[in-house]
Symmetry: C2
Subunit: 230 residues, 2 copies
Amino acid sequence: MFAGTPIVSALAESPNQTYSPRQNAVLECALKVLVEGGERALTTARIAREANCSKESLYKWFGDRDGLLAAVIGFQAAKVRVKDAGQGAGDPDAFRASLVVFARDLLTVLAGDVSLALNRLAIGQASREGSALGRLLLERGRRTIETRARALLESGARAGHISGDLGEAYRVLYALVVRDSHVRLLLGDDLADDERDFATRADAAVDQFFRLHGADGKTGRAGPGPDNNS
Amino acid sequence: MFAGTPIVSALAESPNQTYSPRQNAVLECALKVLVEGGERALTTARIAREANCSKESLYKWFGDRDGLLAAVIGFQAAKVRVKDAGQGAGDPDAFRASLVVFARDLLTVLAGDVSLALNRLAIGQASREGSALGRLLLERGRRTIETRARALLESGARAGHISGDLGEAYRVLYALVVRDSHVRLLLGDDLADDERDFATRADAAVDQFFRLHGADGKTGRAGPGPDNNS
DNA sequence: TACCCTGCGTACCGTACGGTACTGTACGGG
DNA sequence: CCCGTACAGTACCGTACGGTACGCAGGGTA
């Protein structure tokens, strides 16, 4: 996913606390436990046992359980990097293709086990404690996605492919791509077969996006806008 | 019909399980506790204390804690009724107004304390236990909203105001109205000022919906296409 | 009055978890 | 060789919770 691609603007990580390799290994282990068993399984004893470390070390490194959870979220967010996808903005087809790639990536990330587990964790803690984890997740995870998309849209706007407010355009694109799939997945619902086809969904969503925010007349496709509805 | 004898799982069958007034009062109280303090506060002891009943009664009525949670969700869902809003379909303006009302109601419900608390509860339990609560919530809560919207859209389609597949239209409408607000609220994020203006949001979303699914040329408004972007 | 049923209040039990303290051990520098 | 540091492993403690058992009051019935 972020394998060989070059890393772009990794956001000013001033508050980004870094950990030693050993601590990162423990966090990776905690993440695995979280994904496998949910929050209920994420006990300090289990993490310590799974990671072959002592509970005392956990508390020395991360303060308390909440600090550990925050570290897990920050650790995962640090692994996600913004792909450099703002190229080829001059060509309408290339721009459209970039949007489709973004949409497909977005769906893939949101539907992933790790993302779902972390979001469930943050949502479960949102009621108490001022939703610190939720804000952390939004700040670290969502921000990177948004910056990537906005850079893409901005280049498209400069090339005259789309019109309208960029922030509004981003939100519309996000809505058309994700729809209610994220919440339903968080609730444990299964996506329908056609909903699982992220490539087709991304394509259709970008079509609809261009009908709302494409520069006048342009659909982002070679031919006029399709009408595959019965 | 004697109430209180059978201890059913409340999840499997008997979807129309009804409770005595006393039990409903207890469930109402449990709902209040849940909204105020989140799942962590929803302990059997606290419910019993708050509702002036004994823990033993709770277990006799609802089986165990999970049964109680399921009963709370079912109890809340039973309070939500589908408003009969499919009138005036012949008039385009009235049809559009009905959609706007639906959109505003949808946002209001999803942003409500009770809805957020129940969704957080179900999401927190989604990882373990096969996400029974999540399915219950989707089945009871979402279904009613969807039926109302689909009836509305169907009447609009019959009157020739919109085109395209109805299911697709519903999902697009939902996406344009809700966007990512639901997830962000679940995560504890605060909506921006303009996002909190549900009336304006509903209006704009319906505008966009008509541009995607309105019968050719029709925007659902008296005048030409709107320009609500800054 | 005797009996029974319902349900409140509460004491109680087992367990699980967060957090702490203690011990043993490997390592590295002086 | 000694000492400080870091860390694994584990025993331990206080607490909170789910779930159960028991006592007791009120009301209905005969």
